[in-house]
Amino acid sequence: MYIIVVGAGKVGWNLARELLEKNHEVTVIESDRRRYLTVEQELEHNVSYGDASELWVLERAGIQRADMVIAVTGDDEDNMLICQVAKEKYMVERIIARVNNPRNRAHFDLLGIKPSVSATDLILRLLEHEVPEYGLVHLLDLQEEQLEIIEMLLGKDCGVTGRRVGDLAMPDGSLLISILREGKGFVPGPDTVLEVGDEVLAVLDPGKEEELKEIFGPAGGNGTGDGVG
């Protein structure tokens, strides 16, 4: 594959190195002269100097024949627009954009820039996974497939503990896929009885989260807290 990486920061540089090791053809574009000279010592002709916001810089790097463009600069607007132009003007089939400020993610979505990757979001999710008191944790968004995978920790006040999985009124478009109990994971059957402390994984259509929260939330639904843990 021919891959253009925009931004030769830590992410871009290491990414380029890995991609080259996997025998891909790679061009890294860096707009800071000093950074370019540093990276060029190792990557040599695989790095190009210029501002990839400018169309002629992208064209010089051969964007017309690129199979993939990955924008990982420290500037969200740059990443957004480079990917937009790659996709809509140069018809690059695959794009990946880095989101620096998670609050900008909605803008990436609005411009149709998918997938977008936010290190902050990933770390937050890991944190929630490690510290599951937040209740319902978003593990994975399969945006193309229109599915998400979530994790729920069943707390003492949870309304479904002691009940059979087969008796739960699971909403359409959702499915329990595994239970982690005392460090061991298994796939539940209809006769599996849920226990306090179970970590339940479910796959669902987007937008079903609220319905699931109601089922797995605190019994009686007194409205305090939206967590299920």
């Binding site: 916001s53 400018e54 500037d75 900008n104 609005l110």
Partner: protein, 153 residues
């Protein structure tokens, strides 16, 4: 008409004043609180006293856009000093808030042209300058040519 101008530099502030004096409702959004002073250049009363609005915030911040009135805006003008910011926020205004008239100032002629074709109303001052210079050079050449050929007149 209610006009929201993001980026209150020389262009944004002058436009804001002109539109306000024509009787339009004008709101400005800029990251720099100091840019408020630019709005009042040549005015005998304060910007707010004349009915103008000014909000401090970044154009990419949804909260700031809403505070500045994007939801009610009839026209949106992106005139910050950054092309990328202008392109992104004008698309936000167009797609998310469906502002009827959206205009973006883009200095880079190549991108101004491409985004124009994508349905964004773009103004490219660089293009305007190139065209004017080109015309001026040609006119000058014509003048020199005639004076060389036909002596002084």
């Amino acid at each position: 008409m209610f006009i929201l101008i993001v980026g209150c530099g020389r262009v944004g502030s002058s436009l804001a004043r002109a539109m306000l004096q024509e009787g339009h409702e004008v709101s400005c959004l800029d990251e720099d609180p100091e840019s408020h002073a630019r709005l009042e250049v040549g005015l005998d009363r304060g910007w707010e006293d004349l009915g103008g609005r000014f909000t401090v915030g970044a154009g990419l911040e949804t909260d700031a856009l809403v505070a500045a009135g994007i939801e009610e805006a009839d026209a949106f003008i992106a005139s910050t000093d950054g092309d990328n910011t202008n392109i992104v926020i004008s698309q936000i205004a167009q797609r998310r808030y469906e502002v009827p008239t959206v205009i973006a100032r883009i200095l880079d002629p190549l991108r101004a042209e491409w985004y124009q074709r994508q349905g964004l109303h773009t103004i490219c001052p660089t293009r305007v300058a190139i065209d004017m210079l080109e015309t001026a050079v040609k006119e000058g050449q014509g003048r020199n040519g005639s004076s060389n050929g036909g002596g002084r007149d």
